[in-house]
Symmetry: C2
Subunit: 317 residues, 2 copies
Amino acid sequence: MRILIIGAAGMLGRKLSERFGRDQVLGTRPISDLTLADVTGGDGIIAADLSEPGVAGELIASRPDVIVDLAAVVSGEAETDFEKGYRVNLDASRYLLEAIRLAGSDYAPRLVFSSSIAVFGPPMPRVIADDHPTTPATSYGTQKAIVELLLSDYTRRGFADAVAIRLPTVCVRPGAPNLAASGFFSNIIREPLHGRPAVLPVAAEVRHWFASPRAAVGFLIHAAAMDTSVLGRARSLTMPGLSATVGDEIEALRRVAGDDAVALIRAEPDEAIARIVDGWPRGFDARRASELGFVAEQDFDEIVRVYVEDEMGGVLG
Amino acid sequence: MRILIIGAAGMLGRKLSERFGRDQVLGTRPISDLTLADVTGGDGIIAADLSEPGVAGELIASRPDVIVDLAAVVSGEAETDFEKGYRVNLDASRYLLEAIRLAGSDYAPRLVFSSSIAVFGPPMPRVIADDHPTTPATSYGTQKAIVELLLSDYTRRGFADAVAIRLPTVCVRPGAPNLAASGFFSNIIREPLHGRPAVLPVAAEVRHWFASPRAAVGFLIHAAAMDTSVLGRARSLTMPGLSATVGDEIEALRRVAGDDAVALIRAEPDEAIARIVDGWPRGFDARRASELGFVAEQDFDEIVRVYVEDEMGGVLG
């Protein structure tokens, strides 16, 4: 089993690479080769910009059995840099699909694509069903929705065996506080766990859709290993997740790390962020993916504990 | 009012050009300039292949107020020639959008795009609602759905003022019998009206969604002239039409042209065509477009009479 990860230097890419390195198998099949690529390059990671014509062809010349495509410009940057967003989030994935198609009719690898709940836009019901129409309200969501359509068509034509998984907001993200509008969802847990203050820009009633980095890596692996013959034409799956409010987050933090940790959260309402977050989904009935074996956390305590286990060696700082 | 029609040599393009030439106005505004372009060129039509980089920029250098984009490779050809389908149905429209964006922030023309009910795919309810998800089952439908997403994003960003109209199957098409799988819907009316035999490859119970060429031209003109401020982000409109069976068609033909005309239809069941048609939509509740003033025929007699009036000078025989 030969595996290629594109976007391997990102947070999920690194965690997925580590997991493959540890497991040495995907499903029941041993991993004989793991190739890592990212536009930034890095230790053990090939520097490759798939938005340049020809690069994808070189990268898949070894005919990997599984390709995980995680490369993306995030939502905020796709909005501020229109051309870069389309180049990285649309053109690069299309070049990859074309390289796969042109590699010959005997090659149709499993292609796992990290899509996003940003393919949905207002108006949205409180709980969004699997067959809700994709009407993205951002360039990022538009690009993800377009690649979903391409993956479905290339799969139908037999060129690839693609699965697009729509990831919840990944929380708690490790590393430095993120400037993205969604950053505070992670900041208010991670920073207090490390004894540092955090700013909360929205009301405690704000509700959103979450999964841990560990669950997200699990989604990617399950999508890479699953039997896709049951999917038919519908190759885009909304991943399960946890619908929780900021208040739920804070109470989970209190149960795991105590009142002192919660006291480090300072409310500092930000109307601009509140307006952006107001346009985001609040929850899904991700029945189809759940029935297909994708599993996320059941409560926010679990999400906090995953952070403590995976990022703090299980020990509160 | 300067107008550019792309795909002007096609059936709808020619009819729309004639109509603009006759009307001399769009809504209440006089038409000062009408530019026609098509990959084939022709009498009074500029030869321009918009799937070539740079061509769109030249074509819109005169900054038309309204651009009607009708250029497309039809469904069957997009399926047999994968590359041509994506080049003409996706890349050309994207080049056009990019040319419009790069023409400057003071230029955001009305862009009317001929989309299709092929953006919908099985499973479909008997009557499809305006918010039904787009899950195309063909490369053609995929390409139309992608351009719809692009139009919506470019409009949201202020680069264009786009309206995508999802046309019903246009019937009765003038001209020679069409080899497309849908051709028989027109053939069984047009050929007998001219005293010629026609083959019916499916059962009389087969139901589909229709509008006349005259109604389709009316849709394009209304989309070009309408107030788009009421549309918000949702720029793709399923056009009204008539849900009718092949039996309804035949009885309409009988009422307009008599039993002798109907006797020219010969049943010759074709399993392959029946299977293709079985995957097509049967009807829509096109409420939103109707409320916005788009109007189609109410019964098939009217569709037959439109053919007699517009293609036969109102005289049978």
